[in-house]
Symmetry: C2
Subunit: 306 residues, 2 copies
C-alpha cells in the first residue's frame, strides 16, 4: 500500500471558466459524478463570482447542491469575497478557496486592491465562516506565486510574506498556485521549503499549470518536498488568459499515472478518468482535450499502487 | 554562470526516422546548421541502417560529411552493426551510438539476437574502431531500459547487467534510453543510481521519450541524480512505433527552457530553436510540431543562465 496523495480536480471550475462555450448544468453534474466514480474525492465544482463576469459559473449554487449528494465527495468552490463565501455556505459547500494574488500588480488588476487588502478581506471571511453553525473549511490560494504575466518575476520573500499573513488570518490551509505556469522545479522546491519553514503543514497543496510544459516536473519537485495534495484538471482543461492556445492546468490523467507509477496511492482509476473524458467531451463538444495517457494508451507496465 | 548541461539533439535521426515523409537532404543540412546556430553542439544527424528498412536515413553519409564542416559540432550517428560503424567512420562521424536492447524480447524482435549477443557484436565494433587511425567515440545505448512494449516491465537488475557488460566491452559512454516512454521519475532515479554504482560516470546520458507526458519529470529525476547530458528532439519530433499518435522524444525547446530556468547553462538560445523549427516545418510540411514553449511564447520572466 503506497503513501497517499490527494488529487483535487479543478476542471469544473478552472477549466470551464476558460471554456469558449457554457457546459449545460445537467452535464456538469454528470461529469462531476463520473469523476467521483473514478475515485476523485475532492472537486472544485465552480466559483461564486458575478455571472456577468463569468457566465460559465452562473449555476454554481445548483452544482454545489447536486454535488453534496455524491457519496464521499468533498465539495469545494472558489469565492472572491465575503458575498461569495456566504453563497457557498448557503449552498452547502464543504470548502471554499479564496485566491489572493501575491503579485501586487496582478492583485490590483483583478480586484482593484493590493495583496494585503485582500488578506484583510479574507480575515473577514474567516471570521464570518467561523461564526456559522455549519462548519466550512476555508483555504487560501497564493495566486501568481511563481511568476506573473503583469509583474514578471515574483520574489520568493513576497510569497512567504503573503502565505504567512494568510496563515495568520486563520485559514485552514494555504495553496501555492502557479497561475500562469511560469514556475520551474528549482523554484517550486525552494518556495515550498521557504513557506513551510514559515507556516509548516498549513501549506498543503500546489495548484500547477502546464503552460510551459513543466507541470509534472514541478509536481515532482513539490512531491519531493513533501506536498501530498495537488490540483489538476481532467484533460488539462482550461488555458492561460495571457497566452491564447497555451496549456491549462496539469492533466489529471497524467498526474495520476505518474504518481501511481511511482508507488503513490491516489485512489483514482485511470479507466474511470477516461470514461469521465467522454462526459466532458459531450458537454463541451468543441474543446481540445489534452493528455498523454489518453493519446498513448495506458501501457502494459502500469500497476496501481493500491 | 550556471553549471553546464549538454543537450544532444536527436531529431534528425530519431525524429525523421519516424516521419511519414522524407526530408530532402539539402533541408536536413540546413536544419542541422540552424540547430548549431542556436547553440547545439552535439547532433545525432542520422543512422547507418539499410535504406530499404529506413529510407528516411538513406542520405546519412552525405549528411555526416556536410555536418563535419559545421564549426563546433560533434557529429553523431546511430549504427546497428559493424558495417554501419565502418560507414560512419568512413564518412567522418565523431561519435557512433550503438543501441543494445535490455529487453530480451525487444532485442530478438529487432535484431534476431539476444541482448548479450548484441553486446558481443558491440565488442567487435569497439575493437575495430580502436584499431583505426582516426579516433571515433563509441557510445552504447541501453534501449528499453525503463520498460518494453513487448516484455512490459524490465527488471532494474537486467539494466545494470547489460550496462556493466557494455562498459566492460570498452565503450566510451553508456546512455540509458526510455525507448517507449514508460519510465517514471522514481524508476529513473533508482536505475541511474544502480547503474552508476556499477559503472560510475561511464553512464553519462539519458534518452527520454514523452509518450506518457513524464519526459521532463524524468529528466528532472536524472538531473537530480547527477546526469548532465540529455537527448531531445526539436518540436518533440518522432513518436512511438507502438502507440500511433503518441508523443516522441522530449522537446528540446521545453527541456532548454526548464534547465535554463533552473539556472543550468545549456548554451542554447530559445529564439534560435524557434527559427530552427521553421526550417524543420519547411522540410516536413505535414508534420505536427509539439512544444509548450512555442505554443505559449517565452515568458517575460525567462532569463538564460549564462
Amino acid at each position: 500500500m503506497g503513501e497517499k496523495v490527494k488529487i483535487c480536480e479543478v476542471g469544473p471550475r478552472d477549466g470551464l471558466q476558460m471554456a469558449a462555450s457554457i457546459m449545460p448544468t445537467a452535464v456538469k453534474i454528470e461529469w462531476i459524478a463520473s469523476l467521483v466514480e473514478a475515485g476523485i474525492h475532492e472537486i472544485e465544482v465552480g466559483s461564486f463570482v458575478p455571472p456577468k463576469l463569468i457566465p460559465q459559473m452562473a449555476d454554481t449554487a445548483e452544482v454545489v447542491r447536486a454535488s453534496r449528494a455524491m457519496h464521499g465527495l468533498t465539495v469545494a468552490a472558489l469565492v472572491p469575497n465575503l458575498k461569495g463565501a456566504q453563497r457557498a455556505h448557503e449552498s452547502g459547500a464543504d470548502v471554499i478557496i479564496v485566491p489572493v494574488s501575491v503579485s501586487e500588480g496582478h492583485s490590483r488588476a483583478n480586484t482593484n486592491k493590493g495583496s494585503l487588502d485582500q488578506v484583510a478581506e479574507l480575515r473577514g471571511i474567516v471570521d464570518w465562516v467561523r461564526a456559522q453553525e455549519r462548519p466550512m473549511k476555508v483555504d487560501a490560494g497564493c495566486a501568481t506565486a511563481f511568476g506573473c504575466s503583469i509583474e514578471g518575476h515574483v520574489p520568493q520573500e513576497r510569497v512567504v510574506m503573503v502565505a504567512a499573513a494568510l496563515a495568520e488570518a486563520g485559514v485552514d490551509n494555504v495553496v501555492l498556485a502557479d497561475t500562469v505556469g511560469y514556475g520551474n522545479p528549482m523554484q517550486v522546491r525552494a518556495t515550498v521549503r521557504a513557506v513551510r519553514q514559515e507556516i509548516g503543514p498549513v501549506l498543503d497543496r500546489l495548484h500547477l499549470h502546464d503552460t510551459m510544459g513543466l507541470g509534472l516536473a514541478n509536481a515532482l519537485a513539490g512531491l519531493e518536498e513533501g506536498i501530498r495534495c495537488f490540483d489538476s484538471a481532467l484533460a488539462g482543461l482550461g488555458g492561460c488568459p495571457f497566452a491564447p492556445g497555451a496549456s491549462g492546468n496539469i492533466v489529471t490523467e497524467d498526474l495520476v499515472f505518474m504518481l501511481e507509477s511511482m508507488g503513490f496511492a491516489t485512489g483514482v482509476d485511470l479507466d474511470g478518468l477516461i470514461r469521465a473524458r467522454e462526459v466532458l467531451q459531450r458537454g463541451l463538444p468543441g474543446a481540445a482535450l489534452l493528455g498523454n495517457v489518453t493519446k498513448a494508451g495506458i501501457p502494459r507496465t502500469y500497476r496501481r499502487a493500491a
